[in-house]
């Protein structure tokens, strides 16, 4: 059967509009699609209706338990919970810190990952291989463990403080500051970015680099005009995945960040648990969701563009 279909494919176009293959494709993609629809799409939809004040049906139970629940007063719902969040004195600070940490950490991660990947691509050798392997270690350390490790390293009774005290230097306590969140998120996000970017750079043929050098291009010119542009897609993928991960981070800001302002991931958990305001916590979740979707658009656009360039679309 399959071989028959392949023959048919060869005769027709590559994207085949014949019934068989497209049915097979649909059959293959249907189970994951259904799972995403039922277990991700539906809860999001229910969450959206709850944030808009629909407090019956699947939202009945949570509406009984929660505090400060707003019920809908129009057919489409109410924006009271959104109003609560936007006028909450904590929200702007939290949003600001979340965006600040996301932008700064992503930039740092990209710069560090790019420099390690370029070192491996341009100089290479044993040292570079060891360096890349070492830099991937954090991938295998659970986030909770690394958060505590960083906490004991930079805390008020931590290694840095104790060590520098011997030389009469008062090293600042970094825990409970945004700096500690940045250190933590960079540590946890770096390995994926390095894997992504270094594999992108490895795929660039030596011939391109050598011919540029033959024409007298400096190392910086090779990096700026050949390596980075050709690895644009993996860099954008690394950037979008890293920033979405940092945007929704919870453990690192919980353990290492200040009490207030805090990142939205922690604040959502506070509102849901400690303050028992599920509607407001959902509103914040949708705001994070909207920002993440914005980043995802960049990712999808770059994917489509690279697919067009390589003739897959």
């Amino acid at each position: 059967m399959i071989s028959l279909r392949r023959k048919k494919n060869k005769e027709g176009s590559l994207t085949s509009q014949g019934g068989g293959p497209s049915l097979l494709g649909l059959g293959l993609s249907l189970p994951p699609l259904l799972i995403v629809l039922v277990f991700v799409g539906l809860p999001i939809l229910i969450g959206l209706t709850f944030s808009l004040g629909f407090t019956t049906g699947p939202n009945r139970v949570i509406a009984i338990i929660g505090q400060q629940i707003h019920k809908k007063n129009h057919w489409w719902g109410t924006l009271s919970a959104y109003n609560d969040v936007i006028h909450d004195s904590r929200f702007l600070g939290d949003l600001g810190l979340t965006i600040f940490v996301t932008v700064l950490s992503t930039t740092l991660v990209l710069l560090l990952a790019l420099s390690i990947a370029l070192y491996q691509r341009l100089i290479g050798g044993r040292k570079a291989a060891v360096l890349v392997t070492l830099s991937i270690v954090p991938l295998f350390v659970p986030v909770v463990i690394s958060a505590w490790a960083i906490h004991t390293f930079y805390g008020g009774d931590g290694f840095m403080k104790t060590f520098f005290t011997h030389f009469g230097i008062d090293f600042p306590t970094l825990t409970s500051t945004p700096s500690a969140i940045v250190i933590g998120t960079v540590w946890t996000s770096l390995p994926f970015a390095i894997l992504m970017i270094s594999s992108g750079l490895q795929a660039i043929p030596d011939a391109l680099i050598e011919s540029a050098k033959d024409c007298g291009a400096s190392v910086f010119r090779v990096i700026a005009n050949i390596l980075v542009p050709l690895a644009k897609t993996p860099i954008i993928i690394a950037a979008s995945f890293t920033s979405i991960g940092i945007l929704g981070s919870f453990t690192i800001p919980l353990f290492l960040g200040p009490n207030q302002p805090t990142m939205l991931g922690v604040e959502i958990s506070n509102f849901f648990g400690a303050y028992n305001r599920p509607q407001q916590s959902l509103v914040m979740a949708f705001i994070v969701f909207a920002i993440a979707s914005g980043i995802a658009v960049l990712y999808v656009r770059s994917n489509i563009k690279s697919a067009r360039e390589s003739g897959r679309l």
Binding site: R60, V61, I62, I64, I65, Q67, D88, S89, R90, G156, D157, T173, S176, T177, L254, F255, P258, N259, Q260, P261, N270, F271, F272, G273, A274, Y275, N276, R277
Partner: protein, 373 residues
Amino acid sequence: MKKSLSLALAVVAAIGLTVPASHAASSTIQLYISADTNIQDLWVKTLVPAFKLAYPGYDVNVTFDLHGDHDAQETAKITAASVLHKDPGVDLIDGGFTTTLGAAGLLYRPTPGLMPNIKDLNKTVLAAGKGGIPYRASSVLLAYNSTTVPTPPATLDDLLGWIKAHPGKFTYNVPSGGGSGYAFAQTVIDKYLSSADRATLVAQAAPELEAKWAQGLETLRQLNKYTYGQNGTYPANNAETLKDLATGLVDMGTVWSDQFSSALKAGTMPANIKVTAIKNPALTGGASYLGIPNSSTNKTGARLLANWVLSPVAQNLIVGGTLNGFPVIPLNKLDPKLVTAFAGVDILNLRAGYLSANANDLKSMWASTVPGK
């Protein structure tokens, strides 16, 4: 006289008999514990084996949820079961969310007729549970480094004065992160409230009184530059305050009595750290509540276990075991050797924390007005 006595005996016997009579119906009690490992040990290693010895026909199936990570799901599950008249799979709950369920009217309300031992409980503490059954208590105390602080503050005003005189040497954890820090925040706020307002906040949801918290919150905000770190940051939870005390980062902090005693016994807290109770007002303490969901299919078994936990035998185990908990029944019913530990603490009249709805609002208001401001 004789007749009435025999009648009374018959009634007592009948109450005693109604419970074991339903043995055959359901002999497994589903116990759900949402707490730290010390509470797990209390039940699994101490209370449950002793209960099974006393009632050989019963079995207790324990489900344990560390740190209450699944409180929200469990609350939703029990609420849904109650609304839909289905079996929630839980007969007795020991966890912080019991009072939330009680406030939502989802708990069975115990009566002395079916649970005789509740007559020994403090009425206010029992009423605050809204169906929750207090079974042990603990209080928040002021822990201090006796080497650097020879005479600890005796009142809240003394404490506030001490904090300002010793910048960076006192801390309390984020109220939403743990009860010991919460107790300090509520106590400072209570300083400015009338006793009538305090009583209302303990008993019922009272959003109209929350405006009166402003003065206390302002006092707390002004402490930002004097507490540990001196920048308005606070430890995340009870354990971190204990760690800060043990490592000498701070000289004073608020701690839970039971967690402190356990740490002292385990050797993780140096012996020079001591605890004391302050006055005017005292730091809050409170009971931990058991709850029997309305929808439980084995209320008889749950009542039997809860009633037994309130008996002097079980209360002695709570006081004398590794937990170092406070009892909830009068001290004269307990082993006199164990009771000496409570000299100076009025354990049956602990200053109560607010009702959970008010407490949740207080945690939220503290977060928006105090840290980093």
